[in-house]
Symmetry: C2
Subunit: 338 residues, 2 copies
Amino acid sequence: MKKSITIKDIAKKLNISTATVSRALRGSSEISKETKSAVMKIAKEMHYHPNLLARSLINKTSKVLGVVVPTINRQFWSNSISGIESVAYKKGYKVMIFQSAESYQKEVEIVEILANSMVDGILIAFSKETQDYAHIEDLRERGIPVLLFERVCESLPLSKVITDDFFGAKCIVNHLIERGKNRIAYIGGPLSLPVCMERFRGYQSALLENKISFDQDLVIEISDFDADFSSNAFKNLWHSGNRPDAVFCFADILALGVLAASKELGIKVPKDLAIAGFGNDDITKYVSPSISTMAQPSFEIGQLAAKLILKEINFEEEDEFVFRTEIIKPNLIARESS
Amino acid sequence: MKKSITIKDIAKKLNISTATVSRALRGSSEISKETKSAVMKIAKEMHYHPNLLARSLINKTSKVLGVVVPTINRQFWSNSISGIESVAYKKGYKVMIFQSAESYQKEVEIVEILANSMVDGILIAFSKETQDYAHIEDLRERGIPVLLFERVCESLPLSKVITDDFFGAKCIVNHLIERGKNRIAYIGGPLSLPVCMERFRGYQSALLENKISFDQDLVIEISDFDADFSSNAFKNLWHSGNRPDAVFCFADILALGVLAASKELGIKVPKDLAIAGFGNDDITKYVSPSISTMAQPSFEIGQLAAKLILKEINFEEEDEFVFRTEIIKPNLIARESS
DNA sequence: TTGTACGCGTTATCAA
DNA sequence: TTGATAACGCGTACAA
C-alpha cells in the first residue's frame, strides 16, 4: 500500500496552509491566480488525487446511489441497472450494486451495509421473500431517500416506478383471444408476489370481459423463473389431457421454456398453441415471431427511477417533496406468424 | 439530513471514553463484559450504526471493488458482474459498477473516480476504443490492484481472466465443417479488438486445417454488436450472390440477427444455412437448436476474476504475488437439428 | 480494563 | 487573499 499524496504534502512543499491548497484546488474565487496555478502545478507534479471518502465525511454526501435487485443476470434487472447507472453517471453519481438473490435475509444485510456506507439514496426491488418492511422504515428514520421499483410495496410512502402489469397482462391475453384462442393457460410465479398477482388479475380480467370461463386447472404456479420449470410444468399440463390452445407466461424466459417443450412434443406453434409472455422484445423479434411479447421498458424504468430519486435527494425544500408513483405501460409486440 | 448517532453520543451517555466504546463495539477482548454489554445495549437503543467511510479512512481499505464494463445490459457482462458480486459479497466486499459505453474517454474518467474512492481493487474489461493504457499504469503506480477480464491487454503485467477464443472459434467452425459446410462466412467486430482477432484466427485455422480455401469476401466486419447490423450485413452478403452455406458469428446476438434475416429471406436453417456463434447457451437451448453455440462461462469468469483480485488484495507478502492469466475454455453446445 | 490524544484527508469557520 | 483550528466519525498507541 503506497502512501498517497495529500493536500498536506503539497501545502508543505509550497509553505502555505492546507486550507489554501484545498481552496485553490477547487478553484475558489478568493484565491490569487498565482497561488492557484502554483498549487495546480505542484499537484500535477506530485500526482495528487483528492480522497473522495474524506470529502464525503465532511460534506455528508457521498454521491453514491445504492441499488438492490434480486439478481443481476436477468435481462430485466441488468437493463434497469444499466438505465440507473447511465443517468446517475451523468449527474456525477456512482452506483453500488447488490443482489439479494431473492433472500429476505440478504436483502436486510445489504440495506444495512448500504446505509452505513453513507449512500445518498437507495433504489430497491424487493426479493420474492420480502414481506416485512422494517428495514425500509429504518432507512426513512435515518433520513435516507429510498425509491422502490418494479417489486414494490404499495403501502410504503415512497416514490415508486412500476410496470402496468394489469394492463399489460390483460392486453396480451386479449390479443390471444382475438386470435381465436379460448383455452388459455397461465404459467407464472407465486401469487403472493404483487407483480404476479397483477398479471394474474389482468389475465382473469381479459377472460371475464370476453366471457371465457376461468379454469383453475389451467393456472400453474411455479416457484422459480426458470425455463426448465415452465417447460416441465407445461409438459405435465399437456399430458394431463386438459390441453390449452394458448399459454400466457409471466416472463419471457418461461415462454422460451414452453416453446422448447412444445417443439419437443411436436406441437405446432402458434397454430395449435399460441405463446405469449412478458419480457423484452428480443424474443419476438429474433427468436420466434410466434411468441408475442409484452415488452417491458426496463432500461427506461431504471432511468426514471434514478431521475426520481436524484430529484428527491437534491430537493431544496425537503418537506414539500411529494412521492410519485410512475406506472409505465409495456408495449405489445406481436407479429403475424408465418 | 438527520444527525446520525456516533460513538461519541453513546460514550457521553455512559460517561466513558469513545475509545472504550469503539473497542466494546467490536468485541475487543480487553473490555469487561459489563461495559461491553452496557455499550451494546445503549448502541441498540440509540440506533447506532457505524460509519463505514470513516472506518475506511483509518483502515485504508474500503472493502469495495470497482468494476468497469463496456455495458451492463448485455448478457455476457451482466453475468460476469453477477459472478463478481456473488463472490465479493461472500468475502465482505461491496461492488461499484460503471459502464464505459465503449468510450475510452469515459473509461479513463471512471478509473479516476474509482481510484479516488479508495476502492481496494479494480476489475476492468476494456472498451472497444481503448488503445492506450496510461490510466491503468497510473493505478499500478498508486498501488491499486487491477485485474483485467475478457477485454484485456496482453502486455500489461496484471492478472487476467479470459475466454479461450481461438480454441472456441476453431472448435465451432470445425463443427460446421463436420456437418459438411465449406463456404463459411464470418460476421464479427473490428479486428483491432484482440477478442475479435482471436476468434477470427480460430476461424481461419479451422479452415486451413481442413484445406478449405479462405475467401475474404465471406468475412464481414461490423462496427456494433447489434442484431440489426448482422441482419443487414448478412442480407447484403446473400444478395451479392456470393452465398455462404454457414455463418460463424462473433456473438450470439449477431447470430440471432442472421437467423431473423434468413427467415425473412426464406432460407432453410440449418439445411441451407448453418448458423453458429459465441454466446450463452440459452440460444441453442431455447431459441433455435439449429444455432450452435459456443457457450462462454461468463458467470464463472466473473467469479474467478473476483477470487483472483481478492487473493491479490489480501496477499501477505505483496512482493511475491504472481500475476496469473486464466484462460477459460468455452463449451460447444450443438444439438442435432430437426 | 479504561482513558488520553492523535491521526486518517478533507473542508468550513473564523480571524488575520 | 490567506492561515490556524476545529470538525467529520472512527481506531489505536500509549499511558494510567
